[in-house]
C-alpha cells in the first residue's frame, strides 16, 4: 500500500509557482531514493541466455505471446516522479516504480498463481528466482527489489517531500 500524503500535489504547484529551484530539487531527491530499487530490480532480470529458448526473442515471430528480450525488459523498469492521473479509487501517485514491458511483467509475476506449471518450472530450472512481497504486490523483480529495500525508498520519498515543504516554508516565510 502506498503511503498517503496530503497536500503533495498542492506543494508541487506552490513550488513551481513560487520557488522554481525547489520545484526542480524535489524530483531529484525523490529520484535519489527510487534509483537503488530500479538498479537492483534490473539485476534480477535474467539475460537472454538464461531464458527458455522458446520464449527468447527471435525474428519472424508471428505469435501473440510476448517474447523475452533482456535489454527491452531492463529498459522497461524505471521510476516516475510526476503526479499521475487520478485512479479509480481517487488517488494520484506522487512517486512510482514501474515494470512496463510485457515480458518483464510476465517474468515478474510468473509462478504467483500457478507455481507448479511447466513453463514456470522449466524457467526456474534455468534461472532461479524468488518471489517476494504479499498478495498482489508479490513479484520476482520489482516487487522483490522493493521488498528487499525494506521501505528505504518510501522513507526517502517522504523525507524528500517533507524537506521540500520545510524549505518552501523557510523560503516564503
Amino acid at each position: 500500500m502506498p503511503v498517503s500524503v496530503k497536500g503533495g500535489i498542492e506543494l508541487r504547484k506552490a513550488l513551481r509557482a513560487y520557488s522554481p529551484d525547489l520545484a526542480k530539487q524535489l524530483p531529484k531527491d525523490i529520484a535519489t531514493a527510487l534509483k537503488p530499487v530500479v538498479k537492483v530490480a534490473r539485476g534480477y532480470l535474467p539475460d537472454n541466455g538464461s531464458i527458455l529458448s522458446g520464449w527468447r526473442s527471435r525474428e519472424n515471430y508471428t505469435g501473440n505471446f510476448p517474447l523475452y528480450d533482456a535489454s527491452a525488459a531492463k529498459r522497461g523498469i524505471g521510476y516516475k516522479t510526476t503526479p499521475s492521473k487520478v485512479n479509480r479509487r481517487g488517488f494520484r501517485s506522487l512517486a512510482r516504480l514501474f515494470n512496463k514491458s510485457a515480458a518483464g511483467a510476465i517474468y515478474e509475476t510468473m509462478g504467483r498463481k500457478s507455481p507448479s506449471s511447466q513453463f514456470v518450472q522449466n524457467q526456474r530450472g534455468k534461472y532461479g528466482a524468488e518471489l517476494k512481497g504479499n498478495g498482489k504486490d508479490q513479484g520476482a523483480v520489482l516487487f522483490r527489489a522493493y521488498d528487499e529495500n525494506r521501505g528505504a525508498a518510501r522513507d526517502g520519498v517522504l523525507k524528500a517531500i517533507e524537506k521540500a515543504n520545510r524549505d518552501f516554508k523557510k523560503a516564503t516565510a
Binding site: 502506498p2 503511503v3 498517503s4 500524503v5 496530503k6 497536500g7 503533495g8 500535489i9 527510487l34 522497461g76 503526479p83 487520478v86 479509480r88 479509487r89 481517487g90 488517488f91 494520484r92 501517485s93 506522487l94 512517486a95 512510482r96 516504480l97 514501474f98 515494470n99 512496463k100 514491458s101 510485457a102 518483464g104 511483467a105 515478474e108 509475476t109 504486490d137 513479484g139 523483480v141 520489482l142 516487487f143 522493493y146 525508498a153 518510501r154 520519498v157 517522504l158 517531500i161
Partner: protein, 541 residues
C-alpha cells in the same frame, strides 16, 4: 499490463463521488429553482422581483433567439430558423432542458455541420450522451462538432466507449451510429426519472417567467404610448406594484390552494385555481382584454421569423413607410443615373481625362468627377492624392530655387578684343607684305619682266614698315625686310651655303631612235609579246 508500485500517493477524490455530487447539486438546484419560482412568486414581497426577473428572462430569451437566428443566417440556414426554434422548444418540453442550454448547443452544431438535419440528429445524440455520461451538454456538442470537422480527440476524452483505434479508423458516420446504439434512449430515460420531472417543472417555470415577461413588456409598451425606454421602465415599476397589490388579494383564496380529493396535484391545482380566479374576478376582464390585445406570433413564412416574435399594427405602418421610402430612394438613384448620362460637365471631365495630361491634372479631374458624382469615398481619396501632389510640387519648387547659378567658367580667361586681334593681324600682314615687297625689290629686271609687269603693293603704304608708294608702278620697300640679317635683304643667313649639282646626259634624236630599236630587238629575241610590233616600229622608224 504493467507492474506499478505507488510509493506515495495523494487522495484527491474519486470520479464517481464527483459525479454523484454534481447530480445532487443539479437536483438541488432544480428543486430550489422550482421552489423559488412557485413559492416565492406568490409571496407578496417577491412579486416585484418576480416581475423584474420575468422581464429579464423574456428579454434574454428574445436575445438568444435572435442570436441563434443570426448564426443560422450566417451559415446559410436562415430558412430553417423557424424549424430550429420549434425543434428546441420540443426538446425543452420533452427532456426538461432549458432552451438557454439548447440554443448554444444547436448553434455550435449548426456552425459545424451547416445542415439542419444533421444538426438536429447530432443534438439528439448529444442529449443522450449527456444524460448517460453526466457530461455537460455544451462539452458533448463541442466534442461532436469537432469530430464532425475531423478532430476526434475531444470525443475520445468524453469516455464514450470508443477506442483510439476506432476513432482513427472509423468515419464520423460510423462513430455516430455506434454512439446512437450505445446511448439510445438515455435522455428519454433520464427525463422520466424524478430528477427529470423536476427539471421539466423547472423548464415550465422558466417558460412561465418568459411568457409573463413578454406580456409585461408588450403591455407596458402599449401603456407608455411610445417606445421610449424611460417611459417603459417607469410604467413597468408602476405595473409591477399594481400586480403585487392584486396578487395580495389572491391570498384570500388560500383554501383553493389545497390539493383536491380527486388526486389532483398541487401544481395543477395552482394553475387551475389561478385560471379560475383570473377569469372570474376583476382580473378576468383584464385577462380577456389582454387576450384580445395580444398579438399572434408572427408566422414562419419569412426566412428570418423567430418563434414568439410579434408584429404590432404600428410596426406594420412603419414597415410600409420604410418600403415607400426605399422605393423613392431607388427612383431618385435611377433619375440621377439617367441625368449623369447627359451631364456636360461630366462629359468634359471625361474628355479631358482622355487627353495628354500630367498626373496632378489627372487627379484634379478625377476629384472634380468625384465631386460631380457626389462620391464621398472618391472625394476623400483624390483630395488626399491632390494634397500629396501639391506638396511634392512645392518641394520641387523650393529645391529648384535653392540651386545657385553656375559661375562664368571663361571669366578668368584672357580674351583679346576684336580691335586688338585686327591690329595683330594687320601687323602680321604688314610684316608679310614687307617681306614680299623686299623679295620683289631684289628681283632682277628680267625676272620682274617675267612677272608680266605685276608690281605688288601698288599704292600701299605702311609707314611703320617703311613701305611707301608713289602711286606708280613701283613701291619702295625697306632694305631691312628679308631673310638676311644685314645687307640688302637677299642674302642667305650667315653660314648657310646652297650647293646645286646637275647630272645626266643630253641625247640626240638619232641616238634615241637607235636605243629604242636596240631595246625592241632584245625584246623580240626574248620572245616577248612586244616583239610582234617590232616590224611596225621598225617600219615607222
Amino acid at each position: 499490463m504493467s507492474i506499478l508500485i505507488d510509493v506515495a500517493a495523494e487522495f484527491t477524490g474519486a470520479k464517481a463521488f464527483k459525479q454523484a455530487d454534481t447530480a445532487t447539486d443539479k437536483l438541488g438546484k432544480s428543486v430550489k429553482s422550482l421552489a423559488k419560482t412557485v413559492g416565492l412568486a406568490f409571496s407578496a414581497t417577491a412579486v416585484l422581483a418576480f416581475a423584474k426577473a420575468s422581464v429579464k428572462a423574456a428579454a434574454d430569451d428574445q436575445k438568444a433567439q435572435k442570436q441563434l437566428a443570426l448564426a443560422l443566417k450566417n451559415v446559410g440556414l436562415e430558412r430553417d430558423a423557424a424549424s430550429a426554434e420549434g425543434f428546441i422548444q420540443r426538446l425543452q418540453s420533452e427532456f426538461g432542458i432549458v432552451d438557454d442550454k439548447l440554443r448554444p448547443a444547436y448553434q455550435k452544431l449548426a456552425i459545424a455541420t451547416r445542415d439542419t438535419t444533421e444538426t438536429q440528429k447530432l443534438l439528439s445524440l448529444s442529449l443522450d450522451i449527456s444524460a448517460a455520461t453526466g457530461k455537460d451538454l455544451d462539452a458533448v456538442t463541442g466534442a461532436l462538432s469537432k469530430a464532425y470537422l475531423g478532430s476526434n480527440t475531444a470525443l475520445g476524452k468524453l469516455g464514450v466507449g470508443i477506442s483510439k483505434a476506432d476513432l482513427k479508423a472509423k468515419s464520423f458516420n460510423d462513430i455516430t451510429e455506434q454512439l446512437t446504439i450505445t446511448f439510445n434512449g438515455a435522455a428519454d430515460a433520464a427525463a422520466n426519472t424524478f430528477a427529470g420531472s423536476m427539471a421539466k417543472l423547472g423548464v415550465a417555470s422558466q417558460n412561465v417567467k418568459e411568457i409573463i415577461g413578454t406580456g409585461i413588456i408588450d403591455s407596458l409598451t402599449l401603456l407608455s404610448k411610445d417606445h421610449s425606454v424611460d417611459n417603459l421602465t417607469k410604467s413597468m415599476e408602476n405595473f409591477a406594484q399594481a400586480t403585487a397589490d392584486a396578487l395580495l388579494g389572491l391570498t384570500a383564496f388560500s383554501d383553493k390552494f389545497k390539493v383536491s380529493a380527486s388526486g389532483e396535484n398541487i401544481f395543477t391545482a395552482i394553475a387551475r385555481t389561478l385560471g379560475d380566479v383570473a377569469s372570474a374576478g376583476p382580473l378576468g376582464d383584464l385577462a380577456r382584454l389582454g387576450a384580445k390585445t395580444r398579438t399572434a406570433p408572427k408566422p414562419f413564412s419569412t426566412p428570418m421569423s423567430i418563434s414568439g416574435q410579434t408584429q404590432t399594427p404600428g410596426s406594420k405602418a412603419a414597415s410600409k413607410v420604410a418600403k415607400d421610402t426605399l422605393k423613392v430612394n431607388k427612383d431618385t438613384l435611377k433619375l440621377a443615373k439617367a441625368k449623369s448620362i447627359f451631364d456636360l460637365q461630366k462629359i468634359q471631365i471625361e474628355a479631358a481625362l482622355k487627353g495628354k495630361i500630367s498626373e496632378e491634372e489627372r487627379i484634379r479631374l478625377k476629384l472634380m468627377q468625384a465631386i460631380e458624382s457626389e462620391n464621398i469615398d472618391q472625394i476623400d481619396k483624390y483630395t488626399k492624392q491632390l494634397d500629396e501632389a501639391q506638396k511634392k510640387t512645392g518641394e520641387l519648387v523650393s529645391t529648384l530655387q535653392s540651386i545657385k547659378p553656375l559661375d562664368d567658367i571663361f571669366k578668368n580667361w584672357n580674351f583679346m578684343g576684336v580691335k586688338e586681334q585686327l591690329a595683330t593681324l594687320s601687323s602680321y600682314f604688314n610684316t608679310f607684305a614687307g617681306s614680299a615687297a623686299s623679295a620683289f625689290a631684289s628681283l632682277g629686271s628680267a625676272q620682274k619682266a617675267a612677272l608680266g609687269g605685276y608690281v605688288p603693293f601698288v599704292g600701299a603704304t605702311n609707314t611703320s614698315l617703311g613701305i611707301t608708294s608713289n602711286g606708280g608702278a613701283s613701291t619702295s620697300m625697306p632694305s631691312t625686310v628679308g631673310l638676311g640679317t644685314s645687307g640688302t635683304g637677299n642674302q642667305l643667313p650667315v653660314g648657310v651655303t646652297i650647293n646645286t649639282n646637275i647630272e645626266g646626259s643630253i641625247i640626240a634624236e638619232n641616238d634615241l631612235n637607235q636605243a629604242i630599236n636596240d631595246a625592241l630587238a632584245k625584246s623580240g629575241w626574248a620572245g616577248s609579246a612586244i616583239g610582234y610590233s617590232r616590224q611596225a616600229v621598225i617600219t615607222a622608224v
